[in-house]
Symmetry: C2
Subunit: 112 residues, 2 copies
């Protein structure tokens, strides 16, 4: 997904987070274009709140997307184009990933 | 915190995640040493489950630490040495951060 140095502008909790930690395989193999496309698609989904995404030079990345509800996450999970990306991800782009769905209960920011 | 390309070995949900997204200021100013020290300290705290941490070249980082309970997170928050690091973080190391506390409800991993 988008890797711009941006913070998600989320509302007051509660809302939901999808924490996706992944280790890429070597080579692009269409990954960058997919990532860009998935970021654009997610933005248009009902209940989407925002995204924060970082990948380091060693290939480890963390992308956290924020959603209004579990239903919104379920809708994104089964989006046909996203499902295609998930399949290619398992087959080709990721050595390993961990995906966690969490309910955000409190949030703080700084510095003032 | 530690930036080794590692996944946290977390148990079956539910458990808790602290999602810390931050944009660094320029220059080290003691940040790397603090980060290493905080990673070591956190590992010794009651209820600590693991950590995943990535920072990109543009200075944006996401660190997710995992904990057994909200009480464990509260204990880490008020650790005296960690409090000192939090104060220096606000004053010196971070342009901005967002900290979210979330309850992990489901988790998946891949590829098989």
């Amino acid at each position: 997904m988008s890797t711009a140095a941006e913070f998600a502008k989320t509302p007051e909790p509660p809302y939901y987070a999808v924490i996706f930690t992944s280790l890429r395989t070597n080579g692009d193999e269409g990954y960058a274009a997919m990532s860009e496309r998935m970021g654009e698609l997610a933005k248009g989904m009902p209940g989407y709140l925002g995204i924060e995404s970082v990948r380091s030079a060693d290939g480890l990345g963390i992308t956290v997307s924020y959603w209004e509800s579990e239903e919104a996450i379920a809708g994104w999970k089964v989006h046909v184009e996203h499902r295609g990306a998930q399949e290619r991800g398992k087959a080709q782009w990721y050595q390993h990933y961990e995906l966690r769905i969490a309910r955000v209960e409190r949030a703080y920011s700084g510095p003032r």
